[in-house]
């Protein structure tokens, strides 16, 4: 496969680009997402919620490269054989790149590690998500934004999961940034329009050699089933993940149904001054 911009060999098929054109495309896409959705101001003090996985490390790398004042904030959940490994990589990366890193743990918040808090074999992700949001918010006081490495895969999975579980209340809370709410640091997602695979390709090119780790609890989660189904669909119908997010963003701001008024003619509920049936009746009568 050839690059669609030059005739070099492509390194990725969607979009089909060579190494240098892919690098350019990737960085532009992050910049454009930041601009289009107003994710960052030039002088924002931003902390990256860093797990040590490739998404958050790549995000640290890029925001620093773009010239933002960036620091790393990591949460140690206390998951045996998993987080210690990614955190030691993160420490080295931050050392090498002169990025300030702060680490806080569930244990210092609650007195217990996650793997002591939940029963083995039970999905821990809900408890973990709640605690993570709490810790990140607590220690990001004084920063303008928290940036997370959430990507197109994470976000399209979230939209689908909320639909499948009919979670109306949180359905409207997704998107590239959270609303400004007093008491919460605003969260932004510069990788919103990049697939996990694209981030992997970029991090490989840049020698950000994060070794593979999968949270042992995540394998049991509902999300992992949605992820596999969505990947299956994406490989058969390329562009599915992006279409889900574009469609989602286009309907997200559609306001909730207005308070129902009553039709001035028949008294039935109507969306305006008259109900649709009465408007039809009227037009039929006027035609006769």
């Amino acid at each position: 496969m050839k690059c669609k911009k030059c005739y070099d060999t492509a390194i990725i098929e969607m979009p089909s680009l060579c190494k240098s054109h892919f690098t350019e495309y990737f960085e532009e896409k992050v910049k454009r997402t930041i601009e289009e959705f107003g994710l960052l101001e030039k002088n924002d003090k931003v902390c990256v919620a860093a797990s040590g996985g490739k998404d958050s490390v790549t995000l640290l790398y890029l925001l620093k490269k773009f010239g933002y004042e960036v620091e790393a904030l990591a949460v140690n959940e206390g998951i045996h054989g998993y987080r210690d490994h990614t955190l030691s990589f993160l420490k080295k990366f931050c050392d090498d790149n002169k990025i300030l890193l702060r680490i806080h743990s569930y244990e210092e918040e609650t007195g217990k590690r996650l793997d002591k808090m939940v029963k083995p074999g039970s999905p821990a992700c809900n408890t973990c998500g709640t605690l993570r949001r709490h810790v990140l918010n607590k220690y990001s006081e004084g920063y303008d934004k928290i940036a997370t490495g959430h990507n197109m895969d994470d976000e399209s999975q979230a939209v689908l999961m909320n639909l499948l579980k009919a979670q109306k209340k949180i359905f409207y809370r997704q998107g590239p940034k959270t609303n400004k709410v007093k008491g919460f640091t605003q969260k932004i997602k510069p990788f919103y329009f990049l697939r996990e695979k694209e981030i992997m390709v970029y991090s490989f090119i840049k020698n950000i050699n994060v070794s593979y780790t999968e949270c042992p609890f995540a394998r049991l989660s509902y999300r992992s089933k949605v992820r596999d189904a969505l990947n299956e669909y994406e490989s058969r119908h390329p562009g599915t993940k992006e279409r889900i997010l574009r469609k989602y963003l286009s309907i997200k701001h559609v306001s909730q149904p207005k308070a129902v008024s009553l039709c001035s003619r028949c008294g039935f509920p109507a969306s305006g001054y008259e109900c649709k049936a009465c408007r039809i009746k009227e037009s039929v009568v006027s035609q006769a």
Binding site: R195, E196, E232
Partner: protein, 64 residues
């Protein structure tokens, strides 16, 4: 061909000649979940892998 599958940690020697796409089908992995390197260079699915190559199937999923 030397094949390494990161997610399972599997390493094996395989006699396979064909496209990377067919290799993934043979080992039952969805291409959306991985990138493939041949002798340490990323390749697309239409590229050939053959005897003597060192092929790595690297997992894209980070899960956390």
């Amino acid at each position: 061909m030397e094949l390494f599958i990161e997610r399972t940690g599997e390493k094996k020697t395989l006699s396979f000649n064909g496209t990377a796409e067919n290799l993934l089908k043979e080992v039952g992995i969805n291409s959306e979940e991985v990138i493939i390197t041949r002798n340490n260079e990323i390749i697309t699915l239409d590229q050939e892998v053959r005897e003597g190559d060192s092929v790595r199937v690297l997992s894209v999923i980070s899960g956390g």
